[in-house]
């Protein structure tokens, strides 16, 4: 490894690599640049030296159990944390990728605006990590995915070249949307240095309704059919064990809990509550305002609260779809953001799930997105032409293969 790397950056920018170990193996070096310039220099040097770089935000979502194929340098971008431009009147924000979601939310809250991104551990989760991981929470349908909110970005390519994609305005079709390509790429092909986002207005009224759900009820598809058309902010179903993490337990009867989130103008929220009560009866608990927001963050955090975990995506929007699967395994341990089409499943033991497991889920329309602490192969491998296309994109943007990603 070239000695040039540390000399390019201030000694302060080199940090203890032990904290960036993956699969029990620490990289040879860990760098924490203080600016986009420094980050680009680090990448340039790494590419020149054929060193493998894994980018880090706060590491809230990185699967630490997997040993990466190649891992020489941890590049911690959480030091790039400034808010660069906030235009409340335009509903746009540009921030460096190391800014935390909590910091951004705080800035926006002062103007009654909402950051339409969700990720567990928002106090630490970074903007860049959230975008790179295509992270989402219960309100995924309401907000969209990160790619629906990103207007443009400044990106560092593997060789340190810095490029711009998109822009800072809410309508833009000029050029190729490399900033969208990188959402979900988890640090492959290019790294976010800064991103511009389309913001959302804050809701006048925020309410969460908590229901206990029995096994028979959850399986009753007719019971839930009205919910998606009502367009609540979110509907989350939890197994009883996950539900115990919630701040409310009064009256919570296993096996399941459902939280329905309503975020809108007050008159419509009241009307939605009325309609929901007509169908489901009164909730056992009701939260509003700050308490509701805290609960939403807990529901978001719930994704990472247990390991091993397998996360799935699905087009289904009726909680009943889960009923046959719940009876087979881990009935107490799942979080299902129904309208977001996202299921987090916590199998009881580590090790490889039987192949029938993923096929079983696939038969019910749940596709593996991620597995942590357990190897869960997707039921269907990616199409050959897609793999070839991805390989060509990799050759085009990172021919040396500098940017590696943690395993999944």
């Amino acid at each position: 490894m070239s000695r040039a790397l540390p000399s390019m950056l201030d000694a302060e920018r080199t940090v203890d690599p032990a904290g960036y170990a993956l699969g029990g193996r620490a990289p040879r070096m860990a760098l924490k640049p203080g600016s986009a310039d420094e980050a680009a220099l680090a990448l340039e040097a790494a590419t020149r030296d054929h060193a493998a770089v894994i980018a880090w935000g706060a590491g809230t979502r990185i699967a630490r159990d997997r040993v990466p194929e190649r891992y020489d340098i941890a590049l911690d971008l959480s030091g790039l944390d400034r808010i660069l431009e906030y235009n409340p009147e335009d509903f746009t924000l540009t921030a460096e990728c190391g800014a935390t979601l909590a910091t951004l939310r705080q800035t926006l809250a002062a103007r009654g605006q909402e950051l339409p991104l969700e990720s567990p551990q928002a106090a630490r989760a970074t903007l860049g990590g959230t975008l790179a991981a295509n992270a989402s929470g219960p309100r995924r349908l309401r907000f969209g995915a990160p790619r629906d909110r990103i207007l443009g970005a400044r990106i560092a390519l593997a060789d340190g070249t810095r490029i711009k994609s998109g822009g800072k305005v809410v309508k833009n079709v000029a050029g190729y949307a490399l900033h969208r390509l990188l959402c979900g790429a988890r640090g492959r092909w290019g790294l976010f240095l800064e991103a511009s986002l389309k913001l959302a207005p804050g809701a006048e009224s925020r309410v969460a309704l908590l229901y206990s759900i029995g096994a028979g009820e959850i399986a009753d598809a007719e019971r839930w059919r009205f919910l998606p058309r009502l367009e609540p902010a979110f509907v989350t179903v939890l197994g009883a064990q996950a539900a115990q993490e919630l701040p409310l337990q009064a009256g919570l009867i296993p096996p399941f809990a459902m939280v329905i989130g309503l975020e809108d103008d007050a008159a419509w929220v009241a009307e939605q509550e009325r309609i929901i009560a007509e169908h489901l009866g009164l909730p056992i608990a009701r939260l509003e305002g700050e308490a509701q927001a805290a609960l939403v963050q807990k529901l978001t955090d719930a994704e990472l609260h247990l390991s091993p975990r397998v996360s799935f995506t699905s087009a289904h929007n009726n909680p009943a779809i889960l009923a046959p699967l719940i009876s087979t395994e881990g009935a107490g341990q799942f979080v299902h953001h129904v309208l977001a089409g996202r299921l987090h499943w916590y199998p009881r033991a580590s090790g490889t799930m039987p192949a029938e497991g993923s096929a079983l889920f696939a038969a019910f329309g749940f596709t593996v997105i991620e597995s942590v602490g357990v190897r869960y192969e997707p039921a269907e491998p990616a199409e050959g032409a897609i793999l070839a296309l991805r390989a060509r994109i990799g050759e085009a943007l990172d021919p040396i293969g500098t940017l590696q990603v943690p395993g999944r």
Partner: protein, 483 residues
């Protein structure tokens, strides 16, 4: 194109799927950017993903470019076969394949007309939200190519926000599925990269779109102001109050005069600007939202408020807005429509600059725009027989886009870059930005076969823009415009 080639294509597509007469080819020589005309060698009309794949593979074996085309309403030359070859029209792939009303998505073919999709969904209380003004004619596939917007994208987002997945044919003929019915895909989001790529990365043959419940209630309001500046301030004030209406559109005096003299719908001829605001949502909240909007507009100087009392009046108000393009077409022998974006808060400033830049060149201009998202559409009028006026119009169009860039905006909000804006890409992006985009494009299409030459300026390309400006081709039979 030899007769052997034509026979081979007919064997793949059937004889009615291949058009090689001069008359047919002339029809496909341009889209709505009529000043760029290039004859294709042949036009094909496949009916399925397999046929599209077969054509692309055939074209590859014979080293011919393929230009995909929807309805050809594009204003940037995106569907123009600049290098000849094959125009691949998706007009025969025009079906709604499958609707899942409960899970609220639909698989459609790319040639399905945008408004037709919403019509077919309406029996289920659903609709497709992206509503470009061309929607009576433009296709979902074409909308995907340009990431089309429209007045209601202010609240509901653009095409990309409503595409869940695609089946697409790549440049080598491979058929791939990008995304799908589920909200997320594992790993990379190639579908959202293809949306807005103007047919240069892949040809979408099946599109999975998100559909939404129809809003329970709608209120359409028209306000008139003494000046454009006041109308822009009203827009900003509404947004600053945390209200995101479904649509906010402004027409300036020039436009209002043209539209009113044609359609007689009761627009105030002495208004500096007319602001159309539409609110939609649950019935229980709609009147309060409409009242708040009207109060803000009045506080910002609205001289009158007109609230549509029924569907007919709502349609009349929108007809006024959507007829702007047609109204311009009747008034001058030539007009050039532009598509730029500035931050919303700088709209009034941008408009003042547009008028000034045009006046400096002795040109008249009108403005119609999606005020809510800062997307302006200046119409520059000129005498099509006067080459100096043509040159001046072309020159001012570049100055207007430069202004948009300086203000932190962009050179295309919804029409696309195509041929028209290609030279301006060097002013918006740095060489390394364009190089990275070119490499990504190359990864999809190493032989540059699909819609070659569009979007990215070529090496050493220095042309200042379209060769000449002629009169814009207007279709008076179609109500609506594509701005």
């Amino acid at each position: 194109m030899t007769s052997e080639h034509l026979d081979e294509l007919r064997a793949l597509l059937g004889s009615d799927g291949v058009l090689d007469s001069r008359a047919a080819r002339f029809t496909y020589e341009a889209d709505a950017l009529v000043l760029e005309k290039h004859l294709p060698d042949v036009v094909v009309l496949p009916r399925s993903t397999d046929e599209v794949s077969a054509v692309v593979r055939w074209a590859r074996a014979r080293n011919l470019p393929v230009t995909p085309r929807g309805a050809g309403t594009g204003l940037a030359g995106g569907a123009t076969p600049e290098r000849g070859g094959i125009v691949l029209s998706v007009n025969r792939m025009d079906q709604l394949l499958r609707l899942d009303a409960e899970r609220m998505f639909a698989w459609v073919q790319p040639g399905l007309v945008n408004l037709q999709l919403s019509r077919e969904l309406s029996a289920h209380g659903l609709y497709y939200a992206p509503d470009p003004a061309s929607q009576q004619v433009s296709t979902v596939g074409g909308n995907v190519a340009t990431n089309a917007g429209g007045p209601h994208c202010l609240k509901y987002g653009v095409t990309m926000n409503h595409v869940l997945g695609l089946v697409a044919v790549l440049a080598d003929g491979a058929v791939v599925t990008l995304g799908g019915e589920a909200p997320d895909a594992p790993d990379f989001d190639l579908a959202s990269f293809v949306v807005g790529s103007e047919g240069t990365l892949a040809i979408a043959t099946e599109i999975c779109v998100r559909v939404l419940p129809r809003p329970a209630a709608v209120r359409t309001m028209l306000f008139d102001f003494a000046t454009v500046e006041e109308s822009c301030r009203a827009v900003s004030a509404v947004i600053a109050a945390g209200i995101i209406p479904a649509a906010m559109e402004i027409m300036d005096q020039h436009t209002v005069t043209l539209v009113e003299s044609w359609l007689h719908i009761g627009l105030a001829l002495d208004a500096g600007a007319v602001l159309l605001i539409e609110a939609d949502g649950p019935a229980v909240s709609i009147d309060r939202q409409a009242e708040r909007i009207a109060a803000i507009a009045r506080a910002q100087g609205a001289r009158s408020t007109r609230l549509a009392k029924d569907d007919q009046e709502r349609a009349a108000i929108w007809k006024g807005r959507k007829s702007a393009f047609g109204a311009y077409g009747r008034s001058a022998s030539g007009f050039y429509i532009m598509d730029g974006v500035v931050p919303r808060t700088r709209l009034a400033e941008a408009l003042a600059a547009v008028y000034r830049l045009c006046a400096e060149r002795g040109l008249e201009a009108g403005n119609v725009f999606h005020a809510g998202d800062g997307n302006l559409h200046p119409h520059v009028l000129f005498d099509a027989d006067d080459p100096r006026q043509q040159a001046a119009a072309l020159d001012v169009s570049h100055e207007i886009l430069r202004m948009c860039i300086r203000m932190g905006g962009t050179i295309s909000g919804e029409h696309g870059v195509g041929i028209e804006k290609r030279p301006m890409m060097r002013e918006l992006f740095a060489p390394q930005d364009l190089a990275a985009m070119a490499r990504a494009r190359h990864a999809f299409d190493p032989e540059e076969r699909l819609n070659p030459g569009k979007i990215l300026p070529g090496e050493g390309e220095s042309d200042p823009g379209p060769a000449q400006l002629g009169g814009m081709r207007v279709r008076p039979d179609v109500e609506g415009a594509w701005i």
